[in-house]
């Protein structure tokens, strides 16, 4: 004996189990996008309301988190008056090589330790916020939300190759921004003052 209310109860139970359980991840994702708790709260609430209304369109067995991230990001983009234009992207391989050059430029400074300084975190957040949205979303999804390239591609609605390009470009820009910050703050030397005796 299944009447309509049983069906609805079952549907709601499923929603709570699958979707609502992702609240912590969606909150972190929204917070990364908005960088503002009250905006993030609105965004999270709207995301779950939309997800609840569209629950019949969710395909059971697929990554629910990625589905929620998609709704969340679309809502975030819609809520903003101006949408940033696409950024020109280099081939991922080229980005990887240029990142190697970021490393080469600080080869003699212990920047890998600088990355992990606790007081660098606010600078990382600012640098992330300053990235063009398409790059930022790729970095947030893969680096902060641990999504595989394929899931990130689904959220962003682009091919996997584009995710790689955006991700690698975003990471490189972040490194460059943070390197500049670290030099200005005196964490690392700003010129190539090496301890290689041969330089003298």
């Amino acid at each position: 004996m299944t009447d309509d209310s049983d069906v609805k109860r079952e549907r709601d139970r499923h929603f709570q189990q699958e979707a609502l359980s992702c609240l912590p991840e969606v909150t972190r994702f929204a917070l990364s996008l908005t960088r503002n708790e009250s905006d993030a709260d609105d965004l999270v609430q709207e995301t779950f309301l939309r997800a609840y209304r569209s629950w019949d369109r969710y395909e059971p067995g697929t990554e629910c988190r990625a589905w929620l991230f998609t709704i969340c990001r679309n809502q975030f983009l819609n809520s903003r008056a101006r949408v940033q234009r696409e950024v020109a992207l280099e081939a991922p391989e080229l980005e990887a090589r240029q990142a190697a050059m970021v490393h080469d430029s600080v080869r003699d400074s212990p920047l890998e330790h600088t990355w992990l300084r606790a007081d660098l975190a606010p600078a990382i957040q600012r640098a992330l916020a300053a990235l063009p949205e398409v790059l930022r979303s790729a970095v947030i999804l893969v680096d902060l939300q641990d999504q595989k390239y394929e899931d990130a591609a689904r959220v962003l609605g682009v091919p996997v190759g584009t995710v790689r390009s955006r991700l690698f470009r975003g990471r490189r820009l972040l490194q460059e921004a943070l390197l500049t910050y670290a030099q200005d703050a005196g964490f690392v030397a700003s010129d190539q003052q090496t301890d290689r005796g041969s330089d003298r």
Partner: protein
């Protein structure tokens, strides 16, 4: 009772040069490569004085990025708010 070690030490890994490792370093860190390629790069990194520092550099960067994540100050408050909004939308309490 017999246990067979079935490792295939056939050295069928392609030999990787530094350039190839650099190109795929991020894919490697993100664990997005085939198991064979992952193993080949892991092997290269273990012995390459040129690539290993680069690897450490990128890895600590990714760790820093992950740690810099902002945390919500009142997750319970938000949970209650979302639950209330969903109930107002008709979701049954379960």
């Amino acid at each position: 009772m017999k246990f067979f070690h079935r490792h295939k030490h056939t050295h069928e890994h392609e030999m990787l040069d530094c350039e190839a490792v650099m190109r795929q370093l991020w894919d490697y860190l993100d664990e997005e490569l085939s198991p064979d390629r992952m193993a080949a790069i892991r092997e290269h990194l273990a012995t390459c004085a040129r690539c290993y520092p680069q690897y450490e550099f990128e890895q600590s960067f990714l760790t820093a990025l992950d740690r810099a994540q902002q945390e919500h100050s009142n997750p319970d408050g938000l949970r209650n708010r979302v639950a209330a909004a969903l109930r107002a939308e008709g979701m049954s309490e379960i």
